[in-house]
C-alpha cells in the first residue's frame, strides 16, 4: 500500500458517510428543502415582486443561484464537521487511525461524503425552485465547476473545524459567527454593485462573493465578479485548506495523543 490514496478504504469511508446522512435524511435532506421553500415564498414571491429586476433578471431568478449555493455551503460544512467530530468524540475515528489508511484517503473520504450530501441538497433545492421560477442556464460548465469547488472547500472547512473542536459547541461557533454572516453578506440577496464603494471593496475579501457570483453567472450570465477570478479564488482556497487539513492530520492535531 505505497499509493497515497487507498481506493478500497476511500470507497469504504465514502459509503459509510453517505449511509450516515441518508439514514438520518429527515435531519439532513428535508430541512434545506423547507428552509429554501420559505425563502422562495417570502423573499422571491412576496417581497421580490415589489423589488423588480436585479442584474437584468427578476429578483426571484437573481436569488435562486445564491440560495442553492447557500444550501451547498451549509450542508457540505455541517456534514463533515458533525460526522468527523462525532467520530472523534465516540472514538470510532480510531478505526481508521489504526488501519493502513493514508491521511489523504481519510480527507478525501470525509470530503466526498460532504460533497455528496451538498449535491443532493442542491438538486432538491433546484427542483423546488422550479415551482417558483423558470431557470435558464447559460453555462453548465461554470455551474458544475463552481458547485464542486464550493462544496469541496466547505467540506474541508468543516473537517478543519472538527479537527480543532473539543466540544459539540465548537462545531457550531464557526457556522453561527462566521459562516452565516459571510453567506448573508456574500451577495445571495443583493448585487454588491448596490453597495457604496467602500463596502464593495470590503466585500471583495469575502470568499463567498466569488462562489455565489460564479454560480450565478452559470445561470443568468451576469456576475459582479469575472468568472475566471471566481474559479481562481476557489482553487487557491481549496488547495490551501487541503494542505492545512493534511498537515494537521499528519501531525495528529486533535486526533492522536
Amino acid at each position: 500500500m505505497k499509493n497515497p490514496i487507498h481506493f478500497t478504504a476511500l470507497k469504504t469511508i465514502w459509503i459509510k458517510e453517505c449511509t450516515r446522512f441518508l439514514r438520518i435524511w429527515v435531519q439532513t435532506l428535508v430541512p434545506p428543502a423547507i428552509t429554501m421553500t420559505l425563502y422562495f415564498i417570502i423573499f422571491g414571491s412576496l417581497i421580490g415582486s415589489r423589488i423588480g429586476e436585479m442584474g437584468g433578471v427578476s429578483y426571484m431568478e437573481f436569488i435562486v443561484p445564491g440560495l442553492i449555493m447557500m444550501s451547498v455551503i451549509t450542508n457540505a460544512y455541517s456534514n463533515v464537521a458533525a460526522s468527523f467530530f462525532s467520530a472523534k468524540f465516540q472514538r470510532n475515528l480510531e478505526e481508521m487511525l489504526v488501519a493502513p489508511v493514508s491521511n489523504i484517503t481519510i480527507i478525501l473520504g470525509y470530503v466526498g461524503g460532504g460533497v455528496a450530501r451538498s449535491l443532493i441538497v442542491a438538486v432538491i433545492v433546484t427542483i423546488v425552485s422550479g415551482f417558483f421560477v423558470e431557470l435558464n442556464i447559460q453555462s453548465y460548465g461554470m455551474i458544475i465547476i463552481t458547485v464542486l469547488l464550493t462544496a469541496t472547500l466547505f467540506a474541508l472547512g468543516g473537517l478543519l473545524n472538527a479537527m480543532f473542536a473539543k466540544t459539540f459547541d465548537d462545531i457550531s461557533i464557526i457556522p453561527t459567527f462566521v459562516l452565516t454572516p459571510l453567506t448573508y453578506l456574500g451577495g445571495v440577496f443583493y448585487s454588491i454593485t448596490l453597495l457604496p464603494d467602500f463596502w464593495q471593496a470590503v466585500s471583495q475579501v469575502n470568499p463567498i462573493i466569488y462562489m455565489v457570483n460564479g454560480f450565478r453567472y452559470g445561470f443568468i450570465g451576469v456576475s459582479d465578479i469575472a468568472p475566471t477570478v471566481a474559479i481562481g479564488v476557489l482553487v487557491i482556497f481549496n488547495l490551501a485548506f487541503f494542505v492545512l487539513a493534511w498537515w494537521l492530520l499528519r501531525r495528529g492535531t486533535g486526533t492522536r495523543t
Binding site: T8, A9, K11, T12, E94, E95, L97, V98, P100
Partner: protein, 310 residues
Amino acid sequence: MTNALEIKGLRKIYRGGLVALKGVDLIVREGDFYALLGPNGAGKSTTIGIISSLVNKTEGSVKVFGYDLDTHINEVKQHIGLVPQEFNFNQFETVEQIVVNQAGYYGVSRKLARERAEKYLTQLGLWEKRDDRARTLSGGMKRRLMIARALLHEPKLLILDEPTAGVDIELRRSMWEFLTRINKQGVTIILTTHYLEEAEMLCRNIGIIDKGQIIENTTMKSLLGKLNIETFVLDLESSEKAPDIKSATARIIDDHTIEVDVAKSAGLNSVFNELSEQGIKVLSMRNKANRLEELFVNLVEQGRETKEQA
C-alpha cells in the same frame, strides 16, 4: 522464530511532562500468548497505543514482524488487530456495517469482508445480531463485536486491552476458548487484563509493567515457580478435638475448616498424614488466593521498595 513484537527503549513523555514510559524493552515471539500486566496507570495502554499508532512515541523503536513502525507503518498496521479497552465503534451503525467497514480500511474488498464477517460473527455468536444497531447490544456482545472487528483483516498479532472487563464468567470462558483456538491457529496474542486468573489460564509468557518500566518478563511457569508458599483451605469432617498440625502453619477457622500455609518443597503429604493419624477426614481442599495475584502484588511492591531505596 520471528519476533511478533520487538520494543526497545520505548519512552513516552506526554505534553505537560507526565512520563508514562521510561524505556520499555519487550519481545513477544510469534505464536505466543503473552500477558502484559500492571496496575492502573502503569503504562499498559500507552504501550499498546504506541504499537497501534494511536499515540506518538517520544523515543525508542517498535518492530512488528520485523517491520519498523517508523519506516513501515502501513505494514505494521496491516499485521495488527486491536481490541481496545473502551467501546469505540459507531453506536448507530449495525454490527455488520462496523466489521465490514473496518475490513475496508485494511483494503479488504466488500465481498470478501462480508464472507469473513459471517465467519467471525458466527464464531463469536453475533451473526443473528448482524442487522442490529451496536448500541442495542449487551456489554458482552459489544466486547465480542470488537474482537470480530479486529479479526476481519486476519492480522497475525492480536492485541487485547482488557477484553473481558465487565463480562460475566460464562461469556468470559467462551471468549477464552475462542482466543485459545485462534492462538492455536497461529495468531500471536498480547493480552492485558485485571483478571489474573485469566492471564494464568491463557498465557504462556508474562510481562509485568509498573510506573512505565517492565519489572518482570518471563514465562508463566517460571513466574509461578517463584511462589514458595501457598495457602490451602481444607474442609474437614467434624471431629471432637481440634486438629494439631506440626509440619505446616495452620489456622483453625471454624469447627470444619482450617487454613494451611505449605512450603512448596514440603508438599501436602505430611499434613494429610498428620490429619489421618488424628482420625480427621479431609472432605475437600482448595487454594485460598489466586497464586498469580499474590505474586503480582509482591512483585509490584518489591519493585517500588527497590526504587525508593535507590
